[in-house]
C-alpha cells in the first residue's frame, strides 16, 4: 500500500548549539537582503488567516512586494476569525510558574513527543513578542481592573498563560493582522487578490516561482509569478465532512503542491475537539465548537448507569459519573483534547451517553453558577451560552449543555524544515497548513500562537535568507511552466464539469466523511483502516464517473469550487488512512486500539515510530513513498504521557 524511501531526502536544517540559543544563532547566521534590494523581490502569500495576514503585512513592512490571495470576499473573513478561546504566551504575568521552558515542555509533551524540539522551543520564545505586537495594534484583550492584561488557563495547562478577547480571540487577532495588511495595501506594498482560489503551484528549475489561480467571480484562470510562494491556507479538517472548520476551508492548495512534489507529513494526526454541539440531523452542514475555556468551570459527566434516560436534574449527585475528575484527579476536566474526546467516546460506547442519540455527554455549570453567581458566568461565557441556546434551543444556565467531540484541527500538513520551507525550494508553508509544531496533538490556544509566530516573527528572517542566498533568474508568467500549469488547471475543471453524472458533490463529501469518521476517527484499528482504503478508492472512482456538477466555468460557481475540493479530499483521505495504518502505535490524536495500556491510555512505540512521516506523492491511486524524519529528544525526557 506504501513504499519506504531507500534513503530519506529530508534535511530539517535544525541549527546546532543549545536549544535556547539556536534561534538567535540562526538569525545571526542567516543572510540578509539589503534594504534597497527588497523591493526587487516579489512574494506570493496565499491565505489571509493569522499566518498569511501576519506574514504578508510583515514582509511588506520590510519592503518586499507582496501579492496576497484569499478565497473569501475580504481577507478579514479567513477561518482564523472563528477561533474563540485564546492565545498562549509565556509571559508569566500571573506569576504562577510559567516560563519559555515550561511552555516548550508542555507543548512537546502535549504533542505526545511527535514534534520537532527546536521548532517548539522557538515558538515558545517568540510567543511573548506576539502579545506585545497585538496590543500595539490595538487588539482589545481582556483586562483586569488595574488595567493590565488578564489571563486564563486553557485545556491541558496548569498555568494561566492564555490571553483572550471574550470568546472572540481569533476575530480580534485576525482583525489586528488584517488592519496591518490593509495599511500595506494602502501604501501600495501589497496587492490584494480576494475571491481567488489557488489551483496549482508553478515550478521553474525545481523552485516555486508562482501560482495559477481561478478568479472566482468570472472564472478566469490567472497566472502570477514571484520569487517565492508562501502557503498559509489552513487545515484539512473538512475532509471529514462535518467539522468545526468554515465551509470554504480546504486542502486543495496544499494537495496540489503535494502533487507537484511537496511532502505531506503526518496526515493522520487529526484533532478531535471534545466540546462541540452534537449533531442534530442529516441536514447538518457543519459542527459548532463550544470553546474549551468552558471546561475551566463546566464539569463533564454522564449517568453512572447505562441507559439512564431521566432528565439531568432528576439524576442525583451519587448517580453521576464525573468521569474526567475520577480518572484524572490532577487535571480533571482540563485534560488535553485527545484524552477528553476519547473518554467521551468510551462512555458513549458503554451506553451511558445522553440526549436522544446517546451520542453526547453533559457539560454542567450548576456548581460554577452556585460558586460564582450567574453574572460572573455570563461575563466569562455569555456569548458562548447564547450561541448554544440559539443552535439547540436549550438554556445552559438551567440545564447542562450537551457536547460531543468533532473534528477541529489538523496537526498534519506539508512538511517543512526549520525555516518553514517545504522540500520544494521557495515553497514555504505557515500556520495550520504545515506540520511543524504540534506533533500528534495540539494544545488549546496554541494554533493562534503558531500562526502568528510563523507570520510575524519567523518567516521575515528565514525568507530573507532564502532570497539572499538562492540564485533566482527573472521569470514571468509567460514562461512555459505557467502555460502548462494553467492548461492542466483548465482541463481539470472541464473534466469536473463534463462527468454529468447523477450524484451531487455533497453526496460524495458526506460519504467520504462517514468513512473517515467511522474508521479513521477517534479510535482506529488495522482491519477498519484497510477497509477504509478500499472504500475510499471505490468512492473516488465512482466520483469521477458519476458526479454532477453543473453550471459554467466562467461565472461564479461555488459548486464547481466545491467539486474540486472534494476531489482533492478524496485523494488526501486515502493518504490519511494509509498514514494511520502504517503508524503502529497510539500517540496524541492517533489512537490505535491495538496499542493501548491496560488502563486504556495511548501507548507510543518510541523505538520504531519516533519520526515524522513525510509522504511523497506516488501518482493518483499509486503507493505513496514514505520518508522519515527522525525525532530526537535532547531537552525533554521521552516519557509516557500522564495526566492522572
Amino acid at each position: 500500500m506504501w513504499v519506504s524511501a531507500a534513503k530519506s531526502k529530508l534535511d530539517s536544517k535544525v541549527p546546532g548549539g543549545a536549544i535556547a540559543e539556536k534561534w538567535d544563532q540562526h538569525r545571526f547566521e542567516s543572510k540578509l537582503v539589503n534594504p534597497a534590494n527588497k523591493r526587487k523581490f516579489t512574494v506570493i502569500v496565499v491565505g489571509t488567516g493569522l499566518a498569511g495576514a501576519s506574514a504578508a503585512a510583515s514582509l511588506a513592512e520590510l519592503g518586499y512586494n507582496v501579492l496576497s490571495f484569499c478565497i473569501q470576499d475580504s481577507p478579514r473573513r479567513a477561518h482564523s476569525i472563528a477561533a474563540q478561546g485564546g492565545i498562549n504566551a509565556a509571559k508569566n504575568y500571573p506569576n504562577d510558574g510559567d516560563s519559555i521552558q515550561r511552555l516548550f515542555y508542555d507543548t512537546v509533551k502535549g504533542g505526545d513527543f511527535r514534534a520537532r524540539e527546536a521548532n517548539v522551543y522557538r515558538l515558545a520564545q517568540v510567543s511573548v513578542n506576539i502579545i506585545d505586537q497585538c496590543v500595539a495594534q490595538g487588539v482589545p484583550f481582556a483586562r483586569e481592573y488595574g488595567g493590565l492584561l488578564d489571563n486564563r488557563s486553557f485545556g491541558g495547562a496548569q498555568v494561566s498563560r492564555t490571553f483572550y478577547c471574550r470568546g472572540q480571540t481569533g476575530q480580534q487577532l485576525l482583525l489586528g493582522a488584517y488592519s496591518a495588511l490593509m495599511r500595506q495595501v494602502h501604501l501600495g506594498q501589497v496587492k490584494l487578490f480576494a475571491r481567488r482560489e489557488m489551483l496549482d503551484v508553478v515550478l521553474v528549475d525545481g523552485k516555486a516561482r508562482g501560482i495559477v489561480c481561478r478568479n472566482l467571480i468570472n472564472g478566469e484562470i490567472e497566472s502570477h509569478a514571484a520569487h517565492a510562494v508562501l502557503l498559509c491556507t489552513g487545515g484539512y479538517g473538512n475532509a471529514y465532512y462535518l467539522s468545526t472548520n468554515a465551509v470554504n476551508s480546504n486542502v486543495t492548495a496544499a494537495w496540489r503542491c503535494h502533487k507537484k512534489g511537496a511532502f505531506f507529513a503526518n496526515p493522520c494526526y487529526t484533532q478531535i475537539h471534545p466540546t462541540c454541539i452534537p449533531v442534530s440531523g442529516s441536514h447538518q452542514s457543519k459542527l459548532t465548537l463550544m470553546s474549551e475555556s468552558l471546561r475551566n468551570d463546566g464539569r463533564v459527566w454522564v449517568p453512572k448507569n447505562k441507559g439512564d434516560k431521566r432528565p439531568p436534574s432528576h439524576i442525583p449527585e451519587d448517580e453521576r459519573d464525573y468521569y474526567l475528575e475520577r480518572r484524572y484527579p490532577s487535571f480533571g476536566n482540563l485534560v488535553p483534547r485527545d484524552v477528553a474526546s476519547r473518554n467521551a467516546k468510551t462512555v458513549c460506547d458503554e451506553g451511558r451517553g445522553v440526549g436522544e442519540t446517546g451520542l453526547s455527554v453533559y457539560l454542567d455549570f450548576a456548581n460554577a453558577v452556585q460558586r460564582l453567581g450567574q453574572p460572573a458566568i455570563a461575563e466569562k461565557y455569555g456569548n458562548l451560552f447564547e450561541m448554544y441556546q440559539r443552535i439547540t434551543d436549550q438554556n445552559p444556565y438551567v440545564e447542562p449543555m450537551r457536547i460531543y467531540p468533532a473534528i477541529h484541527y489538523t496537526m498534519g500538513g506539508l512538511w517543512v524544515d526549520y525555516n518553514l520551507m517545504s522540500n520544494i525550494p521557495g515553497l514555504h508553508v505557515l500556520g495550520e497548513a504545515n506540520f511543524s509544531d504540534h506533533g500528534a496533538n495540539r494544545l488549546g490556544a496554541s494554533a493562534l500562537m503558531q500562526g502568528l509566530a510563523d507570520g510575524y516573527f519567523v518567516i521575515p528572517y528565514t525568507l530573507g535568507h532564502y532570497l539572499a542566498s538562492t540564485p533566482l533568474p527573472a521569470v514571468n508568467s509567460d514562461h512555459e511552466a505557467f502555460k502548462a500549469s494553467a492548461n492542466a488547471v483548465r482541463e481539470h475543471l472541464k473534466k469536473l464539469l463534463t462527468v454529468r453524472g447523477q450524484k451531487t458533490v455533497k453526496e460524495y463529501h458526506r460519504a467520504l466523511g462517514a468513512i473517515l469518521w467511522n474508521d479513521v476517527g477517534m479510535a482506529r484499528h488495522k482491519a477498519g483502516l484497510e477497509k477504509a482504503v478500499e472504500s475510499l478508492r471505490k468512492l473516488r472512482a465512482d466520483f469521477w464517473e458519476n458526479v454532477k456538477v453543473g453550471g459554467e466555468a466562467n461565472l461564479l460557481n461555488k459548486n464547481l469550487e466545491y467539486a474540486g475540493r472534494v476531489a482533492d479530499y478524496l485523494e488526501l483521505g486515502e493518504l490519511l488512512t494509509i498514514d494511520a495504518l502504517h503508524r503502529e502505535e497510539s500517540c496524541g490524536g492517533h489512537f490505535r486500539e491495538e496499542h493501548q495500556t491496560p488502563e486504556g491510555e495511548a501507548k507510543r512505540n518510541d523505538e520504531q515510530f519516533a519520526y515524522a512521516a513525510a509522504w511523497e506523492f506516488g501518482g493518483t491511486g499509486k503507493a505513496p513513498v514514505l520518508h522519515k524524519e527522525k525525532l530526537t529528544f535532547e531537552n525533554v525526557h521521552l516519557a509516557q504521557r500522564s495526566y492522572k
Binding site: 513592512e61 476569525i81 500595539a136 490595538g138 483586569e144 488595567g147 476575530q171 441536514h283 454532477k548 461565472l555
Partner: protein, 246 residues
C-alpha cells in the same frame, strides 16, 4: 415543514435580475437558514438547474460572509443573529419567505444573492489601523488600559463587517461600520496618535464609495448581528468634527 420561497436570481452584475419562486418540503425546524438553502440547492443541482449563489463561510456568525435580506429584514428578524445562525424553528409550516441580496449602490450584485462588499476593505485601508510595524512593540503591560475602556473598545471591535447596517439603512449609509472601527481605536491609548487623521480619512473614503449619509434612523443597530450600538455613530461624529475643526 413546507415553505414557499421567493428568491432573487441574477446571472451577473451586467444582467438584470428577478424573483423566482420555489417550494421546498421536508424542512426540519433544526436546520439553519443556510442549511435550508443547501437543501434547495441539492434539489436544483439534481434537476440540472443552477444552484442559488449565496456567500457564507464560518456558519457561526463571526466571519461576516453571509448576508441576505429575509422578508425585508437584513439577516432576518431574529435580533443579534446573523443569517447563518438563524434556525428554521423560527418559521412555520406553510410560510412564504422572500430572500434578496443586500442592496446598496456601493454593494453591486455579483450573482444571485452574492454582493461585492470590497468597499469596506477600502475604508479600512484609508486608516482603520494603528501604524505600527512588526517588531517594535513595547511590553504589552507597559500600556495599562482601564477595564471599562477596554470593554467599550471590544464592544465596537466586535463588528463583523457583514454590511447589514448598509442594507438596512434607507440611505444605504455605512456609518455604523465606520463608526465601530473609529470608536474601537479612539477608545484605546494605542489609537491616539493617529486619531484625527483616521476619522477624516475613513469618512472621506466612505463618501467616495457612494454610501449615503446617516440621518439617525437607527435601522442599522436594529439589524446588527453583533448588537453594535449607534452610540458609536455619535462618537464618530464627534471625532470627525473635532478633527475637522482643529
Amino acid at each position: 415543514m413546507k415553505l414557499n420561497l421567493k428568491i432573487w436570481r441574477q446571472k451577473s452584475t451586467a444582467h438584470t435580475g428577478a424573483f423566482v419562486e420555489y417550494t421546498l418540503s421536508h424542512v426540519s425546524p433544526d436546520m439553519s437558514f443556510l442549511e435550508m438553502l443547501d437543501t434547495l440547492n441539492e434539489d436544483l443541482i439534481k434537476k440540472g438547474d443552477d444552484p442559488i449563489e449565496f456567500d457564507n463561510d464560518c456558519r457561526e456568525g463571526i466571519c461576516g460572509m453571509c448576508s441576505l435580506v429575509i422578508n425585508g429584514v437584513a439577516h432576518g428578524s431574529e435580533r443579534n443573529t446573523a443569517t447563518c445562525q438563524l434556525h428554521m424553528r423560527k418559521f412555520k409550516d406553510g410560510d412564504s419567505i422572500t430572500i434578496e441580496p443586500f442592496r446598496a449602490r456601493a454593494f453591486p450584485v455579483i450573482k444571485d444573492l452574492t454582493v461585492d462588499r470590497s468597499a469596506f476593505d477600502r475604508i479600512i485601508q484609508a486608516g482603520g489601523y494603528v501604524s505600527v510595524n512588526t517588531g517594535g512593540a513595547q511590553d504589552a503591560n507597559c500600556l495599562p488600559v482601564p477595564k471599562d475602556d477596554a470593554e467599550k473598545a471590544m464592544d465596537a471591535a466586535a463588528c463583523i463587517g457583514c454590511g447589514a447596517c448598509v442594507a438596512a439603512c434607507p440611505n444605504a449609509s455605512s456609518a455604523l461600520f465606520v463608526a465601530a472601527k473609529i470608536s474601537h481605536l479612539a477608545l484605546l491609548p494605542q489609537g491616539q496618535v493617529e486619531r484625527r487623521g483616521r476619522a477624516l480619512a475613513m469618512v472621506a473614503q466612505m463618501d467616495a464609495e457612494g454610501f449615503g449619509n446617516c440621518s439617525n434612523i437607527g435601522e442599522c443597530e436594529a439589524v446588527c448581528p453583533k448588537g453594535i450600538s449607534i452610540e458609536n455613530i455619535a462618537r464618530m461624529k464627534r471625532e470627525y468634527l473635532k478633527a475637522a475643526l482643529t
